[in-house]
């Protein structure tokens, strides 16, 4: 087997292992931690019988290991359990919401990724001059404000003051794509602003790192024009770090979605999770937590694999 395939296979196996460990952690976080879950759910009004019933229903009387494996077994077969609060099947409720969340994240990524790379290039091109400083000043500001506040600032100025776009982003299946896009315009802007700063800063650093290599000087001393140097020498080496940056930020974006959905009352997974954390609906929290962790680990895995594939030393071994 080509050594690079072996390396990639290793990484994938490691990713699976990590996901498995994460599932243990999530499960442990909701069951083994101090504090009686049944008591927490029922609150002050709990009677001893209520508690006993709920404990039995949750399977709290079984040893944790048994509960974990029966839960994991269910998850493997697509059975995420039923919600405590309304008794509905979680997998069913999640389906729509997951696709809504991905819809939002997709459009945010579609706008922010090219924009961030463009701005990163711009900042490198005008390094230490005013465009670079302006870009880093603006990004510093957006990093310093929490996502939900960017959301309200945009709602206040764009939606309320100027009357463009809607301040809530409720979508449903009967809407056309155009209507949907109109509804999610401001949330997409918020998400874009949130990841743009990180992505652009990291892109800038990645490109600068490549541009300071000795082989760029060699190309310059061959009399090559700058654009050609970037295209022929910098780009092949910069692509891996940039893809890495993009993946890390997409992972970040998926988490950012949680808060933004709450701000805009968007019917996605983030809002679903937050609602049920407040209601202490453990099975839903476990399911959502696992899905978020899986997406996060998956994107980081892709970043890893891309860096392996792009490394000429690994691709063409001695």
């Amino acid at each position: 087997m080509h050594p690079i395939l072996k390396l990639v296979a290793q990484r994938v196996a490691l990713g699976c292992l990590l996901l498995f460990a994460a599932s243990v952690l999530i499960f442990a976080g909701t069951t083994i931690l101090p504090g009686d879950v049944a008591q927490q759910i029922l609150g002050q009004a709990a009677t001893p019988e209520n508690l006993a019933n709920l404990r039995a229903e949750l399977g709290l009387n079984d040893p944790p290991l048994t509960r974990y494996f029966s839960w994991l077994g269910g998850v493997m077969q697509g059975d995420l359990g039923t919600a405590l609060t309304n008794g509905r099947d979680i997998a069913e409720s999640l389906g729509d919401r997951l696709s809504n969340t991905l819809f939002l994240a997709f459009w945010a990524a579609l706008i922010s990724v090219p924009l961030a790379i463009f701005l990163g290039l711009l900042a490198v091109r005008y390094k230490d001059r005013w465009p670079d400083k302006l870009i880093s000043g603006v990004t510093l500001t957006t990093i310093s404000i929490p996502e939900f506040m960017i959301g309200y600032i945009l709602i206040y100025w764009i939606s309320i003051r100027f009357g463009w776009f809607s301040s809530v982003a409720i979508i449903n299946d009967s809407m056309s794509l155009g209507q949907k896009l109109n509804a999610i315009a401001i949330p997409v802007m918020v998400l874009t602003l949130v990841v743009l700063a990180h992505m652009m800063r990291m892109t800038r650093a990645a490109i600068l790192n490549v541009m300071q290599s000795a082989y760029i000087e060699t190309a310059e001393l061959k009399g090559m024009p700058m654009l050609k140097i970037i295209r022929k020498h910098a780009f092949p080496n910069a692509i891996a770090p940039i893809v890495n940056v993009v993946m890390i930020n997409l992972a970040y974006l998926v988490v950012g979605v949680v808060v933004v959905e709450v701000v805009f009352a968007y019917p996605g997974m983030g809002q679903y999770l937050v609602d049920h954390v407040a209601k202490r609906d453990i099975p839903v929290v476990q399911a959502c937590g696992l899905i978020f962790a899986a997406v996060y680990i998956g994107l980081n895995l892709v970043a890893d694999i891309v860096s392996i594939l792009a490394n000429p030393r690994l691709r063409h071994p001695k």
Partner: protein, 545 residues
């Protein structure tokens, strides 16, 4: 008379420096330099670090590295002043009329592209040759430069060939567009001495065969004497002396040049071993954890009090690993070490304090061997405190004594390492080792990072201290000139084994084993025609076999 190929007049070069925490300021690093270079001739630029030699070399391509600016004077190439040219004209010059060979070919090749593509790139870009022609030419150059498998080596990626081969590929890259001038910037400095001689010979032959002119930049006078027609000696951005190779080597005028020529001429007469051996290394075999080969195999050496054993070898020979085993940093898998009659435990943590005290170490990079947050006084004072419990005035007095011994004098106690020069730093490290009153000091390449004159000073100091303190040195180095200057006995290491061991006079006189012969004959000598002699000699030998 025709104009020279390269005509430099009053060249001034400045740079902006950014001291952290302070305002940036402009400094001048080359203060007006004049020289000519005729077609097909080789001019050697020589000087210590900071002399401005690389900067001047790059100025002949109108290039300033990292914030360096060409501030005054003129640089004419083929009659045109390139400092006044626009960027388009300069681009037509670079890679076509003037090309460049850097010190580190490994960094200068793009890791993501095949060697051939990069070698012919300039020639094709500048319209000198069509792609096919350029490729044929490159193969021809690969062959001329003695690269293995010249037809196919271009299809490899840079990391797939060795350092010495890549350096030759870089030379091919520079020669491929048929330039008028090649700037060689320390092309052999990063190579091992036995590799250096082959690359040097290949470069010299290629220069002669193509009739190209060259600027050859190096800090090693013996190297530059082999390839140049003329030599210019530079110091701190100014020309010290200019002359033919013969004149510079055999009749240097300036005091500085005389010092450079006579460097490494320390006369050290070998001492006879007296008394019983102080250090006995017996049957040492060692490997690093997680690897599957022995870095050291069955090493046996002995050392006598107050004497110097030089361990010499190239990178990868295991000489530094031997030091790690003796100090206890790397427990050996077999063998024993006896020090002063006691067997040393292989584990550092279990060694009694006296064993630690009597065995001190000095490192190659004085920069990283001292804690940057401690003053010189603290650095030297700590062993005094730690081993002898000295405090207060007594400690201060001893610190000053040590500073006097290393010829630094008053006022150094309160300085930080960053405020010292390279040579001063190494002296402080020596003082720290001496403070422990050791019987043996391990010196790991202590002069390799220093300029020749400074290194000379350190060697003289070490010899002097040996007389006063009666301390023994285990001197690890790759540099045979250093060995000759300081050793009483020598161990030659190759691939993890000691291949030759004995008193200096015996090790350095024939008959030699193959490796020692190769090593000794590869060290550049400061005389004209040395390179040809060695190459001729080797050819005859291999023909004889």
């Amino acid at each position: 008379m025709t104009d020279p190929l390269l005509k430099v007049r009053g060249l001034k070069i400045g740079a902006t420096i950014y001291p952290p925490g302070e305002k940036s300021r402009d400094i001048e690093i080359v203060h007006g330099v004049d020289f000519d270079l005729e077609k097909g001739k080789v001019l050697g630029l020589i000087g210590e670090s900071g002399a401005g030699k690389s900067t001047i070399g790059l100025a002949s391509m109108a290039y300033g590295r990292g914030g360096v600016e060409l501030t005054g004077g003129s640089v004419e190439v083929n009659g045109r002043d390139i400092l006044k040219s626009g960027i388009r004209d300069i681009r037509r010059l670079r890679g076509a009329e003037v090309t460049y060979v850097s010190q580190s070919a490994a960094a200068s090749f793009n890791p993501a592209k095949k060697i051939m593509e990069q070698v012919i790139e300039a020639a094709v870009l500048q319209g000198k040759f069509a792609r096919r022609e350029a490729e044929d030419r490159a193969v021809e150059l690969f062959r001329k430069l003695g690269l293995p498998d010249p037809e196919n080596i271009g299809q490899r990626y840079p990391h797939q060939v060795s350092g010495g081969q890549l350096q030759r590929c870089m030379t091919a890259l520079a020669l491929c567009p048929q330039p008028d001038l090649v700037v060689f910037d320390e092309p052999t400095t990063a190579l091992d001495v036995t590799t250096q001689i082959d690359v040097l010979a290949a470069i010299k032959e290629a220069i002669r065969d193509t009739g190209v002119a060259a600027l050859y930049i190096t800090h090693d006078l013996a190297v530059v004497a082999q390839v140049s027609d003329h030599i210019m000696v530079l110091r701190m951005g100014e020309m010290v002396e200019y002359g033919t190779v013969d004149q510079i080597i055999n009749a240097p005028q300036a005091e500085y040049t005389q010092a450079l020529v006579s460097v490494r001429s320390i006369k050290h007469i070998e001492k006879q071993p007296t008394g019983t051996p102080m250090l006995k290394v017996e049957g040492i075999t060692a490997r690093y954890s997680g690897t599957d080969f022995d870095v050291l195999r069955n090493i046996n050496v002995e050392m006598y009090p107050g004497q110097t054993l030089a361990v010499v070898g190239e990178s990868g020979s295991g000489k530094s690993t031997l030091a790690r085993v003796i100090t206890g940093l790397l427990p050996p898998s077999a063998g024993s070490i006896t020090f002063d009659g006691r067997t040393l435990t292989s584990n550092l943590a279990q060694r009694p304090r006296d064993d630690l005290r009597e065995l001190q170490m000095i490192y190659q990079m004085a920069d990283t061997a001292m804690n940057p947050r401690q003053t010189v006084g603290t650095i030297i004072g700590r062993p005094l405190e730690f081993y002898f419990g000295l405090k207060g005035a007594e400690k201060q007095r001893r610190i000053q004594e040590l500073l006097d011994e290393i010829e630094l004098g008053e006022g150094f106690q309160d300085r930080y390492p960053a405020e010292l020069s390279g040579g001063q730093k190494q002296r402080v490290c020596i003082a720290r080792a001496l403070a422990a009153k050791p019987k043996l000091i391990i010196c790991d390449e202590v002069t390799s990072a220093l300029d020749p004159l400074v290194a000379d000073g350190i060697l003289k100091l070490l010899l002097n201290l040996q007389k006063i303190e009666d301390v023994a040195y285990l001197f690890i180095t790759h540099d045979l000139a250093t060995v000759k200057a300081i050793a009483d006995s020598i161990a030659v290491m190759y691939m993890g084994e000691v291949v030759r061991y004995g008193p200096k006079s015996q090790v350095l006189s024939p008959p030699f084993d193959d490796y020692t012969d190769l090593l000794l004959s590869s060290v550049p000598e400061m005389k004209l025609g040395w390179l040809e002699e060695v190459i001729e000699h080797r050819k005859m030998e291999s023909a004889g076999n």
